[in-house]
């Protein structure tokens, strides 16, 4: 049981957690993840990299939708912008990798103003559809600006290289992705504790009331969009550096919906929810693959031709079950498990 919240100096006030246990657990988790490349093959590493990189994007979406309450169906557009920015800057302009990553995020953040400005007038689902329109428009612009983006042919992307060290190959890129994720998580945790983070929560709960309390709605909402787009732009840039080839189909509208699913299944507004949600949605098809493989040849030949539709069906069923049985998402389950663990043997 934890107690002891007596703080004596500023450093203690600002620290993310006042107990040592969370730090030790985090360090252990990081150490475990750092050892993964020694154990997993390229396929497993690829999965983990996908989870890390998408988590960064989902953290961004979570900030916008879960914390600030602005629904966005347009994050595929920011992913696309970030990816193409990274591709163009590193391949055509030969900029250093880290600078390109940051610029990719910045470009996406600027582009988010296109959706952010309407958000000041629109609410709820009207805003959601406007963000959806944004995705389609971005896609069209990419195809239109052939001179810059090579249009429908797609673009090859240089491997990420920082200060001369190349992150080519899954093993090396894994560490780059892990570091970026850790930075993103730390940034988010801190953001949510600042004034702007609390302003976002107020706007989510009731924006007119927040305004009445003195929060500048325009600045708060626009900042939410820009920060969220920055995260997502960086995530898109990392996807480009990982897959080394992008085209307009890399991020379809379905990706936006999948991203929302990750936020909701994980638990809205929670950082660990975003990561857990992403991990679940990414691993779901693979788990189903394993389950079907283990079910034996009889099941396989029975459904040989329709196996892909069956998998799609199971995917939808799992999401429905989740929503029905645990609406607070994985973060809710985590919380319940943690409480059970902490209160044992007195837990209900």
């Amino acid at each position: 049981m934890r107690s002891r919240t007596y703080k004596t100096d500023v450093a203690q006030l600002v620290a993310l957690s006042d107990h040592r246990a969370p730090w030790l657990w985090a360090a252990a988790a990081l150490a475990l993840l750092a050892l993964a490349p020694l154990v997993l093959g390229a396929f497993g590493l690829n999965l983990l990299i996908t989870i890390f990189v998408l988590s960064i994007g989902v953290l961004g979406l979570n900030l916008l939708s879960g914390v600030a309450g602005q629904i966005s169906l347009g994050h595929a557009g920011f992913l696309l912008i970030g990816a193409y920015a990274q591709a163009i800057l590193t391949t055509d302009y030969k900029l250093p990798g880290l600078l390109a990553l940051l610029l990719a995020g910045a470009v996406a953040a600027l582009a988010s103003l296109v959706v952010g400005v309407p958000s000041l007038r629109l609410k709820g689902l009207y805003l959601a559809i406007t963000t959806l329109a944004f995705t389609f428009i971005v896609r069209h612009v990419v195809l239109f600006a052939e001179g810059l983006t090579r249009g429908s042919n797609g673009m090859p992307v240089e491997a990420l290289s920082v200060a001369g060290f190349s992150f080519k190959g899954d093993q090396r890129f894994y560490y780059a992705a892990l570091v970026m994720l850790v930075l993103a998580v730390l940034a988010t945790l801190n953001l949510m504790r600042t004034r702007i983070g609390r302003a976002w929560l107020a706007v989510r709960d009731h924006d007119i009331a927040a305004r009445a309390m003195g929060i500048d709605l325009m600045r708060t909402k626009l900042l939410a969009f820009m920060v969220s787009a920055f995260y997502t732009g960086v995530a898109g840039a990392l996807v480009a550096a990982q897959t080394r080839f992008i085209n307009v189909d890399t991020f379809s509208v379905l990706v936006s919906i999948e991203a929302l699913a990750m936020v909701i299944v994980g638990g809205m507004g929670r950082v660990h929810g975003a990561i857990l949600g992403t991990a679940l949605i990414v691993l779901l098809p693979e788990t189903l693959n394993l389950a079907f493989g283990a079910a034996g040849d009889g099941v396989k030949t029975l459904m040989a031709d329709r196996i892909y539709e069956v998998k799609g069906l199971m995917y939808g069923v799992v999401i429905l079950l989740f929503l029905r049985l645990e609406p607070e998402g994985l973060a809710g389950i985590w919380r319940k498990v943690k409480r059970f663990w902490v209160q044992w043997p007195l837990s209900q």
Partner: protein, 391 residues
């Protein structure tokens, strides 16, 4: 602590390596192949047919005793026609499943996305479904491509319209998809326009997945088009031709090889236009195609047989070609040997399903001759107008 762990791991790997004298994916009794196909999503018809063709070839080879005593087995991964999933799928096949070779490589931009992984693994790969020039420019040492350049699909029918249908004075138009595939068709069409000095009055792009072509067709009518190339697939072609009929347009229509699919022919039949189709594989109605369908009835499931089309033929041919390379290596089957044998392949016959296949050229691309077909809307079938001709 970490040092001892690493040392132990290294020792384990080395000893494992020493015991494993066999090549990856090859055992004394079996050779494991892998395919990445779009078996769900928008291109599922194509992916399933390609996989079925491969299954057919494997069943036929295994029924005859396998290759030099080893049977073939294949693992099919679905990428849902999304390039990032193709990369993930091919990594699984190479690293987890440890396949010997790849015989299915999904769509064109997907293959380009998979190339770095394939090159790094040095795995023999046959590309038979989406012959994208970027795959062999530059030549990848272990990749072999079957199929002529895409732009011939746009060039051949237009040339036929001029040579055999005396349409030199007509006005031409093209409807093409806004992706690399559509652009290649446009390039072929423009080549024909330039070569024969034809008047091209309408070059209209459209977004994949569009259903309503009324505006595009009205533009074609407005410009007075008499010969049109449709870079559309199955249901889209049918929708366009239905619009042509509604507006009572007298046009000569050509489309690409996907127009040969029985589903496409049936859907377009009510519009009543006998359209031209170039292809480098036999159709369901050619004697060679019919013969293969007989084989399919024996070995494939009812669904796969009902879905038999030129992509089934494509999958069949791709696997047969790889099997030939494996056969020529005799008992010692290694990736290096198969690549070597395939590099020397010349005039490999496929019993009339396609032209003779040769990889002994700088790009290791079997540039195949093209046949021109025409549909018969009254019976919803396809008949061949020419034989396989090299352009």
């Amino acid at each position: 602590m970490k040092q001892t762990f690493l040392a132990a791991a290294a020792a384990a790997l080395l000893s494992f390596g020493a015991a494993q004298a066999q090549e990856v994916g090859v055992t004394a009794t079996e050779i494991l192949l892998g395919e990445v196909q779009p078996m769900s999503g928008p291109a599922s018809l194509i992916g399933k047919a390609g996989a079925a063709g491969s299954k057919l070839a494997i069943a036929e080879i295994n029924a005859a005793g396998g290759i030099n005593g080893r049977k073939l087995r294949a693992i099919y991964e679905d990428d849902g026609y999304v390039p990032s999933r193709s990369v993930s799928a091919v990594k699984k096949l190479i690293d987890s499943d440890k396949v010997f070779a790849l015989t299915g490589t999904t769509g064109s931009s997907h293959m380009v996305a998979m190339l770095p992984t394939i090159e790094e693994a040095k795995i023999p790969t046959i590309v038979h479904m989406a012959p994208n020039p970027a795959i062999v420019n530059p030549r990848r040492p272990t990749v072999f491509m079957i199929g002529p350049d895409y732009d011939l699909a746009g060039y051949v029918p237009m040339r036929y319209m001029v040579d055999k249908l005396a349409m030199k004075g007509g006005k031409f138009g093209i409807l093409y998809q806004d992706d690399d595939f559509g652009k290649a068709l446009l390039a072929g069409y423009q080549k024909a326009m330039k070569e024969f000095g034809l008047a091209s009055v309408a070059e209209i792009p459209f977004k994949r997945g569009a259903k309503d072509f009324s505006a595009e067709v009205l533009t074609l009518k407005d410009k007075g088009v008499t010969g049109v190339y449709l870079g559309t697939l199955t249901t889209e072609s049918a929708a366009v031709m239905s619009e042509f009929r509604r507006l009572d347009m007298k046009v000569t229509i050509a489309t690409l090889w996907a127009g040969q699919l029985p589903a496409a022919v049936k859907l377009a039949a009510p519009a009543g236009y006998p359209y031209l189709i170039p292809d480098y594989y036999a159709s369901n109605y050619d004697p060679a195609g019919q013969q293969l369908m007989e084989l399919a009835k024996k070995h494939l499931s009812a669904d796969d047989y009902a879905n038999f089309n030129r992509y089934t033929v494509s999958g069949y041919v791709g696997t047969k070609v790889l099997a030939e390379g494996i056969k020529r290596c005799g008992a010692a089957v290694t990736r290096a040997c198969v690549v070597d044998q395939l590099n020397k392949l010349q005039n490999f016959g496929t019993a009339g399903l396609t032209g003779p296949i040769s990889f002994n050229n700088p790009k290791a691309q079997a540039v195949l001759p093209i046949k021109l077909f025409q549909t018969d809307p009254a019976s919803a079938t396809v008949k061949s107008l020419t034989d396989f001709i090299a352009y």
